[in-house]
Amino acid sequence: MSVDKKTVTKIAHLARVAVSPDELEPLVGELNNILEWIEQLSEVDTDGVAPMTSVVDVNLPWRTDKVTDGGYRDEVLANAPGSEHGFFTVPKVIG
Protein backbone atom coordinates (compact mmCIF):
# COMPACT_ATOMS: atom_id res chain seq x y z
CA MET A 1 0.00 0.00 0.00
CA SER A 2 1.22 3.49 -0.69
CA VAL A 3 0.02 7.02 -0.09
CA ASP A 4 -0.45 9.90 -2.53
CA LYS A 5 -0.72 13.65 -1.97
CA LYS A 6 -4.43 13.39 -1.35
CA THR A 7 -4.03 10.74 1.35
CA VAL A 8 -1.20 12.63 3.05
CA THR A 9 -3.34 15.79 3.05
CA LYS A 10 -6.12 13.79 4.65
CA ILE A 11 -4.00 12.21 7.38
CA ALA A 12 -2.33 15.57 8.09
CA HIS A 13 -5.82 16.97 8.61
CA LEU A 14 -6.79 14.06 10.87
CA ALA A 15 -3.60 14.67 12.88
CA ARG A 16 -4.27 18.45 12.87
CA VAL A 17 -0.86 19.32 11.47
CA ALA A 18 -0.66 22.08 8.86
CA VAL A 19 1.37 20.93 5.84
CA SER A 20 2.33 23.52 3.24
CA PRO A 21 2.09 22.59 -0.47
CA ASP A 22 5.89 22.46 -0.89
CA GLU A 23 6.25 20.09 2.08
CA LEU A 24 3.70 17.69 0.64
CA GLU A 25 5.70 16.11 -2.18
CA PRO A 26 8.79 15.16 -0.08
CA LEU A 27 6.51 13.91 2.68
CA VAL A 28 4.73 11.54 0.26
CA GLY A 29 8.13 10.07 -0.70
CA GLU A 30 9.32 9.71 2.89
CA LEU A 31 6.12 8.08 4.11
CA ASN A 32 6.06 5.69 1.16
CA ASN A 33 9.63 4.59 1.86
CA ILE A 34 8.66 3.73 5.41
CA LEU A 35 5.41 2.01 4.38
CA GLU A 36 7.20 -0.02 1.73
CA TRP A 37 9.71 -1.19 4.34
CA ILE A 38 6.92 -2.08 6.78
CA GLU A 39 5.19 -4.07 4.03
CA GLN A 40 7.45 -7.10 4.75
CA LEU A 41 5.19 -7.88 7.71
CA SER A 42 2.56 -9.19 5.29
CA GLU A 43 4.69 -12.32 4.76
CA VAL A 44 4.20 -13.37 8.41
CA ASP A 45 1.39 -15.87 8.96
CA THR A 46 -0.66 -14.48 11.85
CA ASP A 47 -3.77 -16.63 11.46
CA GLY A 48 -5.09 -17.55 14.88
CA VAL A 49 -2.59 -15.31 16.70
CA ALA A 50 -4.08 -13.02 19.34
CA PRO A 51 -2.92 -9.38 19.14
CA MET A 52 -0.87 -8.31 22.14
CA THR A 53 -2.89 -6.27 24.60
CA SER A 54 -0.59 -6.34 27.63
CA VAL A 55 3.20 -6.39 27.53
CA VAL A 56 3.66 -8.23 30.80
CA ASP A 57 1.40 -10.87 32.20
CA VAL A 58 -0.49 -8.87 34.80
CA ASN A 59 -4.06 -7.83 35.41
CA LEU A 60 -4.82 -4.16 35.68
CA PRO A 61 -5.46 -3.25 39.30
CA TRP A 62 -8.92 -2.33 40.54
CA ARG A 63 -9.67 0.52 42.87
CA THR A 64 -12.67 2.12 44.45
CA ASP A 65 -14.34 4.64 42.18
CA LYS A 66 -13.82 7.75 44.26
CA VAL A 67 -12.09 11.08 43.82
CA THR A 68 -8.53 10.92 45.18
CA ASP A 69 -6.96 13.94 43.56
CA GLY A 70 -7.76 17.48 42.47
CA GLY A 71 -8.59 20.87 43.93
CA TYR A 72 -5.76 22.86 42.41
CA ARG A 73 -7.23 24.74 39.51
CA ASP A 74 -4.54 27.41 39.45
CA GLU A 75 -1.77 24.83 39.11
CA VAL A 76 -3.61 23.20 36.22
CA LEU A 77 -3.87 26.56 34.49
CA ALA A 78 -0.34 27.70 35.35
CA ASN A 79 1.16 26.63 32.02
CA ALA A 80 -1.74 27.59 29.76
CA PRO A 81 -0.89 29.89 26.85
CA GLY A 82 -4.18 31.64 27.60
CA SER A 83 -6.52 31.58 30.63
CA GLU A 84 -9.15 33.89 32.10
CA HIS A 85 -11.31 33.73 35.21
CA GLY A 86 -10.09 30.22 36.02
CA PHE A 87 -10.67 28.79 32.54
CA PHE A 88 -8.55 27.88 29.54
CA THR A 89 -9.20 30.28 26.67
CA VAL A 90 -9.38 29.29 23.01
CA PRO A 91 -10.13 31.20 19.81
CA LYS A 92 -13.83 31.92 19.30
CA VAL A 93 -15.62 28.75 18.19
CA ILE A 94 -19.28 29.77 17.98
CA GLY A 95 -20.03 32.63 15.61
Binding site: L27, V58, L60, A80, V90, P91
Partner: protein, 498 residues
Protein backbone atom coordinates in the same frame (compact mmCIF):
# COMPACT_ATOMS: atom_id res chain seq x y z
CA UNK B 1 44.87 11.44 43.09
CA UNK B 2 41.63 10.47 41.44
CA UNK B 3 39.42 13.46 40.77
CA UNK B 4 36.00 13.38 42.40
CA UNK B 5 34.46 13.54 38.93
CA UNK B 6 36.21 10.31 37.87
CA UNK B 7 34.53 8.24 40.58
CA UNK B 8 31.97 5.56 39.94
CA UNK B 9 28.67 5.90 41.76
CA UNK B 10 29.63 3.10 44.18
CA UNK B 11 33.00 4.75 44.92
CA UNK B 12 31.31 8.13 45.47
CA UNK B 13 28.75 6.53 47.76
CA UNK B 14 31.47 4.88 49.83
CA UNK B 15 33.49 8.11 49.99
CA UNK B 16 30.45 10.08 51.11
CA UNK B 17 29.56 7.54 53.78
CA UNK B 18 33.08 7.41 55.18
CA UNK B 19 33.22 11.21 55.26
CA UNK B 20 36.13 11.41 52.82
CA UNK B 21 34.32 14.22 51.00
CA UNK B 22 30.94 15.90 51.13
CA UNK B 23 28.15 15.92 48.59
CA UNK B 24 28.69 19.67 48.27
CA UNK B 25 32.34 19.13 47.25
CA UNK B 26 31.31 16.41 44.84
CA UNK B 27 28.55 18.57 43.37
CA UNK B 28 30.73 21.66 42.98
CA UNK B 29 33.27 19.63 40.98
CA UNK B 30 30.57 18.36 38.65
CA UNK B 31 29.09 21.82 38.16
CA UNK B 32 32.53 23.03 37.16
CA UNK B 33 32.87 20.21 34.61
CA UNK B 34 29.43 21.09 33.26
CA UNK B 35 30.62 24.64 32.66
CA UNK B 36 33.71 23.32 30.86
CA UNK B 37 31.63 20.94 28.78
CA UNK B 38 28.94 23.32 27.52
CA UNK B 39 29.95 22.91 23.88
CA UNK B 40 28.85 19.27 24.06
CA UNK B 41 25.28 20.64 24.41
CA UNK B 42 24.50 17.92 26.88
CA UNK B 43 22.33 19.99 29.20
CA UNK B 44 19.30 22.03 28.16
CA UNK B 45 19.01 23.52 31.63
CA UNK B 46 21.60 23.59 34.42
CA UNK B 47 20.19 23.69 37.93
CA UNK B 48 23.32 24.59 39.89
CA UNK B 49 21.62 26.40 42.74
CA UNK B 50 19.10 23.61 43.26
CA UNK B 51 21.95 21.10 43.13
CA UNK B 52 23.86 22.84 45.91
CA UNK B 53 20.75 22.97 48.12
CA UNK B 54 20.09 19.30 47.50
CA UNK B 55 23.75 18.48 48.20
CA UNK B 56 23.58 20.25 51.57
CA UNK B 57 20.44 18.33 52.45
CA UNK B 58 22.16 15.10 51.41
CA UNK B 59 25.12 15.91 53.62
CA UNK B 60 22.69 16.31 56.52
CA UNK B 61 21.09 12.97 55.69
CA UNK B 62 24.51 11.33 55.76
CA UNK B 63 25.45 12.94 59.07
CA UNK B 64 22.13 11.83 60.53
CA UNK B 65 22.82 8.27 59.44
CA UNK B 66 19.90 8.18 56.98
CA UNK B 67 21.88 7.72 53.78
CA UNK B 68 20.88 5.38 50.96
CA UNK B 69 22.91 4.28 47.94
CA UNK B 70 21.96 7.45 46.07
CA UNK B 71 22.38 10.03 48.84
CA UNK B 72 24.56 12.92 47.74
CA UNK B 73 25.14 11.56 44.23
CA UNK B 74 24.97 14.30 41.56
CA UNK B 75 22.97 13.08 38.59
CA UNK B 76 21.63 14.45 35.32
CA UNK B 77 17.94 14.05 34.45
CA UNK B 78 16.64 13.51 30.94
CA UNK B 79 14.32 16.32 29.86
CA UNK B 80 11.57 13.71 29.39
CA UNK B 81 10.98 13.56 33.16
CA UNK B 82 8.66 16.13 34.68
CA UNK B 83 10.46 17.97 37.46
CA UNK B 84 8.42 20.40 39.49
CA UNK B 85 8.82 24.05 38.43
CA UNK B 86 11.81 23.15 36.23
CA UNK B 87 11.95 23.10 32.43
CA UNK B 88 10.52 19.76 31.21
CA UNK B 89 9.99 19.87 27.47
CA UNK B 90 11.17 16.52 26.01
CA UNK B 91 13.44 18.72 23.84
CA UNK B 92 10.41 19.80 21.83
CA UNK B 93 9.40 23.32 20.86
CA UNK B 94 5.75 22.43 21.36
CA UNK B 95 6.27 22.26 25.14
CA UNK B 96 7.96 25.66 25.03
CA UNK B 97 8.35 27.06 28.54
CA UNK B 98 6.56 24.16 30.23
CA UNK B 99 7.34 23.94 33.95
CA UNK B 100 5.24 21.17 35.46
CA UNK B 101 3.52 21.57 38.80
CA UNK B 102 4.31 17.99 39.75
CA UNK B 103 7.24 15.61 39.94
CA UNK B 104 7.62 12.31 38.08
CA UNK B 105 7.57 9.27 40.34
CA UNK B 106 11.03 8.12 39.21
CA UNK B 107 12.70 11.45 40.00
CA UNK B 108 10.68 11.77 43.23
CA UNK B 109 12.10 8.37 44.28
CA UNK B 110 15.64 9.54 43.53
CA UNK B 111 15.22 12.82 45.47
CA UNK B 112 13.65 10.92 48.34
CA UNK B 113 16.83 8.85 48.46
CA UNK B 114 18.94 12.00 48.53
CA UNK B 115 20.22 12.20 44.94
CA UNK B 116 21.27 15.64 43.67
CA UNK B 117 19.91 17.12 40.43
CA UNK B 118 22.50 18.84 38.22
CA UNK B 119 20.19 19.73 35.35
CA UNK B 120 17.98 18.50 32.53
CA UNK B 121 19.63 16.76 29.63
CA UNK B 122 19.19 17.12 25.92
CA UNK B 123 17.56 14.31 23.94
CA UNK B 124 15.93 13.52 20.63
CA UNK B 125 12.61 15.35 20.44
CA UNK B 126 10.02 13.25 22.34
CA UNK B 127 12.67 10.47 22.40
CA UNK B 128 12.20 9.92 18.67
CA UNK B 129 15.64 9.36 17.26
CA UNK B 130 18.84 7.36 17.59
CA UNK B 131 21.45 10.10 17.30
CA UNK B 132 20.21 13.05 19.36
CA UNK B 133 20.00 15.12 16.17
CA UNK B 134 16.23 15.76 16.32
CA UNK B 135 16.29 17.95 19.45
CA UNK B 136 14.82 21.43 19.20
CA UNK B 137 17.83 22.47 21.29
CA UNK B 138 20.35 21.25 18.75
CA UNK B 139 22.40 18.05 18.52
CA UNK B 140 24.55 16.70 21.35
CA UNK B 141 28.21 15.97 20.62
CA UNK B 142 29.70 12.64 21.64
CA UNK B 143 32.66 13.20 23.98
CA UNK B 144 34.35 10.37 22.04
CA UNK B 145 36.05 11.06 18.72
CA UNK B 146 37.47 8.38 16.46
CA UNK B 147 41.16 7.84 15.83
CA UNK B 148 42.30 8.05 12.19
CA UNK B 149 44.40 5.32 10.61
CA UNK B 150 47.54 7.40 11.11
CA UNK B 151 46.81 7.50 14.84
CA UNK B 152 45.72 11.14 14.82
CA UNK B 153 42.43 12.02 16.52
CA UNK B 154 39.51 12.99 14.28
CA UNK B 155 38.38 16.59 14.57
CA UNK B 156 34.81 16.03 13.35
CA UNK B 157 31.88 15.49 15.71
CA UNK B 158 30.22 12.15 16.38
CA UNK B 159 26.68 11.50 17.57
CA UNK B 160 26.24 10.20 21.14
CA UNK B 161 23.37 7.95 20.07
CA UNK B 162 19.82 8.57 21.10
CA UNK B 163 17.43 9.32 22.33
CA UNK B 164 19.14 9.71 25.74
CA UNK B 165 22.11 11.47 24.07
CA UNK B 166 22.52 14.31 26.54
CA UNK B 167 22.39 11.91 29.48
CA UNK B 168 25.17 9.66 28.14
CA UNK B 169 27.34 12.61 27.07
CA UNK B 170 27.02 14.07 30.57
CA UNK B 171 28.21 10.85 32.22
CA UNK B 172 30.91 10.08 29.62
CA UNK B 173 32.34 13.62 29.93
CA UNK B 174 32.42 13.41 33.76
CA UNK B 175 29.76 16.10 34.13
CA UNK B 176 27.49 13.75 36.12
CA UNK B 177 28.15 10.51 38.00
CA UNK B 178 25.03 8.96 36.50
CA UNK B 179 21.93 9.99 34.62
CA UNK B 180 18.35 8.93 34.12
CA UNK B 181 17.38 7.78 30.66
CA UNK B 182 14.27 6.39 29.06
CA UNK B 183 14.12 3.52 26.62
CA UNK B 184 11.30 2.89 24.16
CA UNK B 185 13.18 0.89 21.51
CA UNK B 186 16.79 1.23 22.65
CA UNK B 187 17.11 4.85 23.78
CA UNK B 188 19.16 3.96 26.86
CA UNK B 189 21.14 0.99 25.59
CA UNK B 190 22.28 2.24 22.18
CA UNK B 191 23.61 5.62 23.44
CA UNK B 192 25.30 3.85 26.38
CA UNK B 193 27.05 1.57 23.86
CA UNK B 194 28.09 4.62 21.77
CA UNK B 195 29.77 6.28 24.76
CA UNK B 196 31.40 3.39 26.65
CA UNK B 197 28.82 3.33 29.44
CA UNK B 198 26.37 0.94 31.06
CA UNK B 199 22.72 1.53 30.13
CA UNK B 200 19.86 -0.54 31.45
CA UNK B 201 16.14 -0.79 30.82
CA UNK B 202 14.11 -2.76 33.35
CA UNK B 203 11.13 -5.02 32.73
CA UNK B 204 8.09 -3.07 31.55
CA UNK B 205 6.19 -2.12 34.70
CA UNK B 206 9.20 -1.98 37.05
CA UNK B 207 9.41 1.80 36.94
CA UNK B 208 6.42 4.07 37.13
CA UNK B 209 5.78 6.03 33.94
CA UNK B 210 3.90 8.69 35.89
CA UNK B 211 5.33 12.10 35.04
CA UNK B 212 7.38 10.78 32.14
CA UNK B 213 6.37 12.62 28.98
CA UNK B 214 4.75 9.83 26.95
CA UNK B 215 6.04 8.62 23.58
CA UNK B 216 4.79 5.01 23.17
CA UNK B 217 3.13 3.97 26.41
CA UNK B 218 3.32 0.19 25.95
CA UNK B 219 7.10 0.43 25.46
CA UNK B 220 8.41 3.41 27.50
CA UNK B 221 10.52 2.55 30.54
CA UNK B 222 12.92 4.60 32.64
CA UNK B 223 16.37 3.30 33.48
CA UNK B 224 19.84 4.29 34.69
CA UNK B 225 22.90 5.36 32.67
CA UNK B 226 26.08 4.75 34.65
CA UNK B 227 29.78 3.88 34.45
CA UNK B 228 29.50 0.35 35.86
CA UNK B 229 27.01 -2.46 36.29
CA UNK B 230 27.20 -2.02 40.06
CA UNK B 231 26.26 1.63 39.66
CA UNK B 232 23.28 0.65 37.50
CA UNK B 233 22.13 -1.84 40.15
CA UNK B 234 22.30 0.81 42.89
CA UNK B 235 20.45 3.43 40.86
CA UNK B 236 17.83 1.03 39.52
CA UNK B 237 16.84 0.05 43.03
CA UNK B 238 16.10 3.68 43.81
CA UNK B 239 14.19 4.38 40.56
CA UNK B 240 11.94 1.31 40.64
CA UNK B 241 8.70 1.25 42.61
CA UNK B 242 5.08 0.26 42.47
CA UNK B 243 2.94 3.32 41.84
CA UNK B 244 -0.84 3.41 41.85
CA UNK B 245 -0.66 6.46 39.57
CA UNK B 246 0.58 4.26 36.69
CA UNK B 247 -1.87 1.43 36.07
CA UNK B 248 0.81 -0.61 34.26
CA UNK B 249 3.24 -0.33 37.14
CA UNK B 250 3.67 -3.75 38.70
CA UNK B 251 3.25 -4.47 42.39
CA UNK B 252 6.35 -6.49 43.17
CA UNK B 253 9.04 -6.07 45.77
CA UNK B 254 12.11 -4.33 44.40
CA UNK B 255 15.09 -6.54 45.27
CA UNK B 256 18.50 -5.33 46.40
CA UNK B 257 20.05 -5.56 42.94
CA UNK B 258 23.58 -5.00 44.19
CA UNK B 259 23.35 -8.26 46.12
CA UNK B 260 22.83 -10.04 42.81
CA UNK B 261 26.39 -9.16 41.72
CA UNK B 262 28.00 -12.32 43.03
CA UNK B 263 30.60 -12.62 40.29
CA UNK B 264 29.58 -16.24 39.85
CA UNK B 265 28.03 -17.31 36.54
CA UNK B 266 29.04 -20.96 36.65
CA UNK B 267 26.31 -23.06 35.14
CA UNK B 268 24.36 -20.00 33.96
CA UNK B 269 22.72 -20.80 30.63
CA UNK B 270 23.35 -18.09 28.05
CA UNK B 271 21.44 -18.14 24.77
CA UNK B 272 23.02 -16.97 21.51
CA UNK B 273 20.27 -16.17 18.97
CA UNK B 274 21.35 -17.02 15.44
CA UNK B 275 18.98 -14.46 13.93
CA UNK B 276 21.06 -11.62 15.41
CA UNK B 277 23.83 -12.56 12.98
CA UNK B 278 22.59 -10.05 10.44
CA UNK B 279 23.61 -9.73 6.84
CA UNK B 280 26.03 -6.89 6.30
CA UNK B 281 26.90 -6.67 10.00
CA UNK B 282 30.40 -5.21 10.41
CA UNK B 283 33.05 -7.82 11.15
CA UNK B 284 34.16 -6.04 14.32
CA UNK B 285 30.68 -6.39 15.82
CA UNK B 286 30.60 -10.08 15.00
CA UNK B 287 34.10 -10.48 16.48
CA UNK B 288 33.19 -8.67 19.69
CA UNK B 289 30.10 -10.82 20.09
CA UNK B 290 32.22 -13.97 19.63
CA UNK B 291 34.67 -12.60 22.18
CA UNK B 292 31.79 -12.05 24.61
CA UNK B 293 30.72 -15.66 24.16
CA UNK B 294 34.29 -16.83 24.90
CA UNK B 295 34.48 -14.65 28.02
CA UNK B 296 31.25 -16.03 29.42
CA UNK B 297 32.29 -19.58 28.61
CA UNK B 298 35.61 -19.03 30.39
CA UNK B 299 33.69 -17.74 33.42
CA UNK B 300 31.87 -21.06 33.59
CA UNK B 301 28.61 -20.24 31.82
CA UNK B 302 27.00 -22.69 29.47
CA UNK B 303 26.52 -21.35 25.94
CA UNK B 304 23.41 -22.53 24.10
CA UNK B 305 22.50 -21.74 20.50
CA UNK B 306 18.92 -20.55 20.27
CA UNK B 307 16.53 -19.29 17.64
CA UNK B 308 14.24 -16.25 17.84
CA UNK B 309 12.60 -16.72 14.44
CA UNK B 310 10.64 -13.45 14.28
CA UNK B 311 13.61 -11.19 15.01
CA UNK B 312 13.72 -9.63 11.54
CA UNK B 313 10.13 -8.46 11.88
CA UNK B 314 10.72 -6.68 15.19
CA UNK B 315 11.87 -3.38 13.71
CA UNK B 316 9.03 -2.90 11.19
CA UNK B 317 6.56 -4.00 13.89
CA UNK B 318 8.01 -1.38 16.20
CA UNK B 319 7.63 1.27 13.50
CA UNK B 320 3.91 0.62 13.41
CA UNK B 321 3.23 0.22 17.14
CA UNK B 322 5.40 3.10 18.39
CA UNK B 323 4.16 5.76 15.90
CA UNK B 324 0.57 4.60 16.44
CA UNK B 325 0.87 5.13 20.18
CA UNK B 326 2.81 8.36 19.63
CA UNK B 327 0.16 9.83 17.34
CA UNK B 328 -2.40 9.19 20.05
CA UNK B 329 -0.23 10.41 22.97
CA UNK B 330 0.88 13.54 21.17
CA UNK B 331 -2.70 14.53 20.34
CA UNK B 332 -2.68 16.35 23.70
CA UNK B 333 -0.44 19.12 22.31
CA UNK B 334 -3.09 21.47 21.03
CA UNK B 335 -1.93 24.91 22.11
CA UNK B 336 -4.54 25.08 24.87
CA UNK B 337 -3.25 23.46 28.05
CA UNK B 338 0.50 24.16 28.00
CA UNK B 339 3.41 25.06 25.80
CA UNK B 340 3.34 26.72 22.43
CA UNK B 341 0.34 28.37 20.81
CA UNK B 342 0.45 29.67 17.25
CA UNK B 343 -2.67 31.57 16.21
CA UNK B 344 -4.51 30.58 13.05
CA UNK B 345 -7.90 30.71 11.45
CA UNK B 346 -10.29 29.74 14.22
CA UNK B 347 -9.70 26.92 16.68
CA UNK B 348 -8.74 24.35 14.07
CA UNK B 349 -6.30 26.73 12.41
CA UNK B 350 -4.70 27.33 15.81
CA UNK B 351 -4.36 23.57 16.40
CA UNK B 352 -2.81 22.98 12.99
CA UNK B 353 -0.39 25.89 13.10
CA UNK B 354 0.67 25.13 16.67
CA UNK B 355 1.41 21.53 15.78
CA UNK B 356 3.12 22.43 12.48
CA UNK B 357 5.50 24.87 14.21
CA UNK B 358 5.86 22.96 17.47
CA UNK B 359 6.85 19.51 16.19
CA UNK B 360 10.07 18.76 14.30
CA UNK B 361 10.30 16.77 11.06
CA UNK B 362 10.86 13.31 12.59
CA UNK B 363 8.06 13.73 15.12
CA UNK B 364 5.67 14.85 12.38
CA UNK B 365 6.66 11.88 10.22
CA UNK B 366 5.84 9.50 13.06
CA UNK B 367 2.57 11.25 13.90
CA UNK B 368 1.50 10.94 10.26
CA UNK B 369 2.54 7.29 9.99
CA UNK B 370 0.78 6.57 13.27
CA UNK B 371 -2.38 8.38 12.20
CA UNK B 372 -2.35 6.48 8.91
CA UNK B 373 -1.95 3.00 10.42
CA UNK B 374 -4.75 3.71 12.88
CA UNK B 375 -7.11 5.26 10.33
CA UNK B 376 -10.30 3.58 9.16
CA UNK B 377 -9.60 0.93 6.54
CA UNK B 378 -5.93 0.46 7.49
CA UNK B 379 -6.17 -0.43 11.17
CA UNK B 380 -6.42 -4.19 10.59
CA UNK B 381 -3.78 -4.36 7.87
CA UNK B 382 -1.18 -2.44 9.85
CA UNK B 383 -1.86 -1.95 13.54
CA UNK B 384 -3.65 -5.19 14.32
CA UNK B 385 -1.17 -7.15 12.20
CA UNK B 386 1.72 -5.56 14.10
CA UNK B 387 0.17 -6.36 17.47
CA UNK B 388 -0.18 -10.00 16.38
CA UNK B 389 3.46 -10.16 15.33
CA UNK B 390 4.34 -8.59 18.65
CA UNK B 391 2.69 -11.57 20.31
CA UNK B 392 4.84 -13.90 18.17
CA UNK B 393 8.01 -12.01 19.11
CA UNK B 394 7.15 -12.26 22.82
CA UNK B 395 6.42 -15.99 22.36
CA UNK B 396 9.84 -16.48 20.73
CA UNK B 397 11.43 -15.17 23.92
CA UNK B 398 9.12 -17.16 26.20
CA UNK B 399 10.09 -20.33 24.33
CA UNK B 400 13.84 -19.84 24.64
CA UNK B 401 13.60 -18.84 28.30
CA UNK B 402 12.55 -22.42 29.00
CA UNK B 403 16.10 -23.38 28.04
CA UNK B 404 18.28 -20.39 28.91
CA UNK B 405 18.61 -17.83 31.72
CA UNK B 406 19.79 -14.82 29.72
CA UNK B 407 20.54 -13.92 26.10
CA UNK B 408 23.77 -12.34 24.86
CA UNK B 409 23.78 -10.12 21.73
CA UNK B 410 25.52 -7.02 20.38
CA UNK B 411 23.84 -3.76 21.48
CA UNK B 412 24.06 -1.88 18.20
CA UNK B 413 25.09 -2.79 14.65
CA UNK B 414 27.90 -0.19 14.60
CA UNK B 415 29.92 2.22 16.71
CA UNK B 416 28.88 5.89 16.92
CA UNK B 417 28.76 7.53 13.50
CA UNK B 418 29.63 11.05 12.42
CA UNK B 419 27.07 13.79 12.86
CA UNK B 420 24.85 14.24 9.82
CA UNK B 421 25.82 10.86 8.35
CA UNK B 422 22.39 9.26 8.68
CA UNK B 423 20.07 12.18 9.34
CA UNK B 424 18.67 12.21 5.78
CA UNK B 425 17.67 8.56 5.74
CA UNK B 426 15.04 7.63 8.35
CA UNK B 427 15.26 3.89 7.72
CA UNK B 428 19.08 3.80 8.01
CA UNK B 429 18.60 5.60 11.32
CA UNK B 430 15.91 3.15 12.47
CA UNK B 431 18.29 0.21 11.83
CA UNK B 432 20.41 1.36 14.78
CA UNK B 433 17.85 -0.23 17.06
CA UNK B 434 17.72 -3.60 15.33
CA UNK B 435 19.18 -5.46 18.34
CA UNK B 436 17.45 -3.46 21.07
CA UNK B 437 13.87 -3.30 19.77
CA UNK B 438 12.94 -7.01 20.15
CA UNK B 439 13.41 -6.96 23.96
CA UNK B 440 11.41 -3.72 24.11
CA UNK B 441 8.49 -5.23 22.23
CA UNK B 442 8.53 -8.18 24.63
CA UNK B 443 8.83 -5.92 27.69
CA UNK B 444 12.04 -7.65 28.87
CA UNK B 445 14.87 -6.19 30.95
CA UNK B 446 18.10 -5.59 29.03
CA UNK B 447 21.45 -3.96 29.68
CA UNK B 448 24.31 -2.74 27.52
CA UNK B 449 27.83 -3.24 28.84
CA UNK B 450 30.92 -1.59 27.30
CA UNK B 451 32.96 -4.45 25.90
CA UNK B 452 35.56 -3.16 23.48
CA UNK B 453 36.68 -0.61 20.92
CA UNK B 454 36.07 -0.43 17.20
CA UNK B 455 38.93 -0.30 14.66
CA UNK B 456 38.92 3.48 14.96
CA UNK B 457 38.87 3.33 18.78
CA UNK B 458 35.19 4.08 19.39
CA UNK B 459 33.35 2.19 22.16
CA UNK B 460 31.20 -0.88 21.43
CA UNK B 461 28.69 -2.59 23.69
CA UNK B 462 27.24 -6.04 24.26
CA UNK B 463 23.70 -6.59 25.46
CA UNK B 464 22.33 -9.02 28.03
CA UNK B 465 18.57 -9.62 27.85
CA UNK B 466 16.91 -11.17 30.90
CA UNK B 467 13.62 -12.81 31.78
CA UNK B 468 10.70 -10.60 32.77
CA UNK B 469 11.20 -9.36 36.36
CA UNK B 470 14.49 -11.23 36.64
CA UNK B 471 16.75 -8.18 36.54
CA UNK B 472 18.92 -9.90 39.14
CA UNK B 473 20.13 -12.67 36.83
CA UNK B 474 20.58 -10.08 34.06
CA UNK B 475 22.71 -7.94 36.40
CA UNK B 476 24.73 -10.97 37.53
CA UNK B 477 25.55 -11.92 33.93
CA UNK B 478 26.30 -8.30 32.96
CA UNK B 479 28.61 -7.93 35.95
CA UNK B 480 30.59 -11.01 34.89
CA UNK B 481 30.74 -9.76 31.30
CA UNK B 482 31.96 -6.36 32.48
CA UNK B 483 34.64 -7.98 34.61
CA UNK B 484 35.88 -10.12 31.72
CA UNK B 485 35.86 -7.23 29.23
CA UNK B 486 37.79 -4.96 31.59
CA UNK B 487 36.83 -1.89 29.58
CA UNK B 488 38.77 1.10 30.96
CA UNK B 489 39.06 3.43 27.95
CA UNK B 490 37.97 7.06 28.37
CA UNK B 491 37.43 9.77 25.79
CA UNK B 492 40.28 12.25 25.30
CA UNK B 493 39.16 15.66 26.48
CA UNK B 494 39.02 17.97 23.45
CA UNK B 495 36.31 20.27 24.75
CA UNK B 496 36.47 23.21 27.14
CA UNK B 497 39.70 25.10 27.69
CA UNK B 498 42.00 22.14 27.07
Amino acid sequence: MTKLTDLTLAEARDGLLSGEFSSRELTVQHLSNMEQGRELNSFIVETGEIALNMADKADQMIRAGNATGMTGIPIAVKDLFCTRDIHSCAASHILNGFKPKYESTVTANLWQDGAVMLGKTNMDEFAMGSSNETSYYGPVKNPWRATKENGEPETKDYVPGGSSGGSVAAVAANMAIAATGTDTGGSIRQPAAFTGLVGMKPTYGRCSRWGMIAFASSLDQAGPITRTVRDAAIMMESMASYDHKDSTSVERTVPNYEHALTGDVRGLKIGIPKEYRMEGMPEEIEKLWQQGIEWMKAAGAEIIDISLPHTKYALPTYYIVAPAEASSNLARYDGVKYGLRVEGKGLEGMYKNTRADGFGAEVKRRILIGTYVLSAGYYDAYYLKAQKIRTLIAQDFANVYEKVDVILTPTAPSAAFAMGEKSDDPIAMYLNDVFTVPASLAGLPAISVPAGLSRDAMPLGLQIIGRAFDEETMFRAAHALEHAAGFTAKPNIWWGEN
